[in-house]
């Protein structure tokens, strides 16, 4: 059982996704319970896998019994175990949140919607577990293709946003594949563990360096690392409000995880600290991304674009944490990756409810908000506290650990950038809450009925998750340090 868990986590959503069209034809009402049930089963499988990893170490799954490096293998170690739990839980909650909105406004497209979401989740699983650079490329494209289609579902302007996303995403994928080709030409292998053994002697080779740069550019486009974030704001702002949280919470985080995997497990820490320049440049890219995202968010009037840019800023923060080259920074970055996925989901839950119930898109329209939606308000305030970084929430502890790591690495500019980014985040949430709470109400639209309970439930789960990640940040960070860190960090 244990050794089959990696494949099982992929097969559960994948099998249901493939059988969904038949199901939709025979029993349309079963689509939603089947999709949710399969994601629930996936959550159980990923939790079982994580417990088993903590107990007995990484699980290796060679496909068809071919021993790597000849065969393709999937590896679920501490880091991928933790990320898998995050992916499956977020997928379950966001799909649960999405179901009423989708069934009401996209009635004719329910079956393709569930198929695409489950394919997207199985693609994420493949990306997280792949221990082979080419396998990673294939799943990167599976994820992206589902992403383009899901963004386009809303129609209208979303089509153009999706087209732009497709063009930029394909350039990213081509750069990544080109980088993989360079590394393959230099080493003759694609297996990550095998590459890690062969690369250290080859770092003088220009082919290897060029390949690495191409891989970083490719994944950088996919994860919207500023200045490569061009596709992201439009895609998030025009996507259907039910689909947005799912895409916003994971579409950029999983490629970021893939970058961490390649940088720390393929290149290896010793090589990185010897050559030094790679991490150094990455830390500056991260610093710039933090500030660029925060400034752009502040200048936006559209609520969802504003949230999207704040996500760009946080991607920069995670990249900065990873590139500090010490264990505190790594653990803080991975912790922040998870809390940011939760926060993005929560923000787009709130934005979705505002749009779905009140038709509010712009910050200026918030005066129309009736002010009688305690669930939305509470979630928004908790998420805002966490985005800004106020102690009882997870966002504070993530930022705090990354700042400590930056001080440890004597990177004072980074500390300044994080603090300035925090202040800018505070500024845009103050503007947001001011419109919502303090200004006089105008043209308030009385809403009949309540927010559908799956939406309220989704928001409540995210708010509680942000608080829990804050309260239990110490055990979570030490779990990452003990079980999910690459070898070679000086304690």
């Amino acid at each position: 059982m244990r050794e089959n868990l990696p494949a099982l986590q992929f097969l559960i959503p994948f099998f249901v996704a493939v059988s969904m069209p038949v199901m939709g034809w025979l029993r349309p009402n079963w689509c939603r319970p089947m999709a949710l049930f399969s994601l629930l089963a996936m959550v159980c499988a990923s939790l079982a896998a994580l417990l088993s990893i903590l107990d007995q170490g990484p699980i290796r799954y060679p496909f068809g019994g071919w021993i790597p490096p000849v065969g393709i293998e999937w590896v679920q170690d501490g880091l991928s175990g933790v990320v898998m739990v995050m992916v499956s839980l977020l997928a379950l909650v966001t799909l649960f949140y999405a179901s009423p909105g989708v069934e009401k406004t996209l009635t004719a497209k329910v079956v393709p919607f569930y198929t695409l979401v489950l394919l997207l989740v199985s693609g994420f699983t493949g990306m997280v577990l792949a221990a082979d650079l080419f396998n990673l490329f294939v799943f990167l494209e599976v994820v992206s293709l589902c992403g383009y289609a899901l963004v386009a579902v809303a129609g209208g302007r979303a089509l153009i946003a999706a087209f732009r996303y497709l063009i930029l995403g394909t350039i990213g994928a081509s750069f990544y594949l080109l980088g993989v080709g360079y590394l393959y030409a230099a080493t003759g292998t694609l297996n990550m563990a095998d590459l890690a053994q062969r690369l250290p002697g080859l770092l003088e080779s220009k082919a290897v360096l060029t390949g690495l740069v191409f891989i970083v550019i490719g994944l950088g486009i996919k994860m919207a690392l500023a200045p490569l974030h061009g596709w992201l704001p439009d895609a998030y702002a025009h996507a259907h409000e039910a689909i947005c949280p799912l895409i916003a919470s994971m579409m950029t985080k999983v490629p970021l995880y893939a970058l961490a995997r390649i940088v720390f497990w393929v290149l290896g820490l010793e090589t990185l600290l010897q050559t030094h320049a790679f991490l150094y440049y990455m830390s500056w890219v991260g610093t710039v991304a933090i500030l660029a995202g925060a400034f752009l968010a502040l200048s936006e009037q559209d609520i969802r674009r504003m949230f999207a840019y704040s996500g760009v800023s946080h991607i920069g923060l995670v990249v900065l944490g990873l590139s500090l080259g010490n264990q505190t920074g790594f653990a803080g970055a991975i912790f922040y990756l998870m809390i940011d996925a939760v926060m993005q989901a929560a923000l787009f839950f709130v934005a979705g409810v505002l749009l779905y119930r009140y038709g509010i898109r712009q910050v200026a329209d918030l005066v129309r908000y009736g002010g009688r939606a305690p669930w939305t308000m509470a979630t928004l305030i908790i998420t805002a506290l966490s985005m800004v970084g106020i102690p009882p929430t997870g966002g504070f502890f993530g930022k705090w650990v990354i700042i400590l790591a930056a001080l440890e690495a004597d990177h004072y500019v980074a500390v300044g950038a994080i603090v300035l980014g925090t202040l800018l985040t505070l500024a845009f949430f103050v503007r947001f809450l001011e419109k919502m709470l303090l200004e006089e109400r105008q043209n308030v639209q009385e809403q009949s009925g309540e927010t559908p309970w799956p939406m309220r439930f989704g928001m409540a789960v995210m708010a509680v998750a942000i608080l829990l990640l804050g309260i239990f940040s110490d055990p979570a960070i030490s779990l990452i340090q003990d079980f999910a860190s690459p070898s070679g960090f000086t304690k």
Partner: protein
């Protein structure tokens, strides 16, 4: 010097040409042509990695003689590119579907005109 590696030069030209078309042309279909050139460039790059003059497909003839590795071409890049071609076809399919949907909605595929009609 460059011509000694003419296959790589060809791939770089294709790749850059594709990127250039994607960036400069306003028509969505032309952008897709550029995208396809970029993908084809990468595919050709992988294919040239596996090419070896005077070599054959890696099927062993068990006629008793010693196996000469130098007589066989590396099949892995070609096999990888079969998958990459499938990925490319899927991307092209999705992108053409998007273009059709955009045309039905806005009745144009020129970017400038599109932005004007979106307002």
């Amino acid at each position: 010097m460059f011509l000694a590696r003419s296959n790589f030069v060809a791939f770089i030209l294709l790749f850059l040409f594709g990127l250039y078309i994607m960036m400069t042309h306003k028509n969505l279909i032309k952008k897709l042509i550029g995208m396809y050139l970029v993908q084809t460039g990468v595919i050709l790059f992988f294919i040239t990695l596996g090419v070896k003059e005077g070599s054959t497909v890696p099927i062993l003839f068990l006629d008793g003689g010693p196996i000469q590795a130098s007589a066989y071409a590396n099949p892995l890049p070609h096999v990888l590119m079969l998958t990459a071609i499938v990925v490319g076809v899927a991307t092209l399919g999705v992108s053409l579907a998007l273009v059709i949907a955009i045309y039905r909605q806005y009745r144009t595929l020129e970017e400038d005109e599109l932005f004007r009609r979106m307002e």
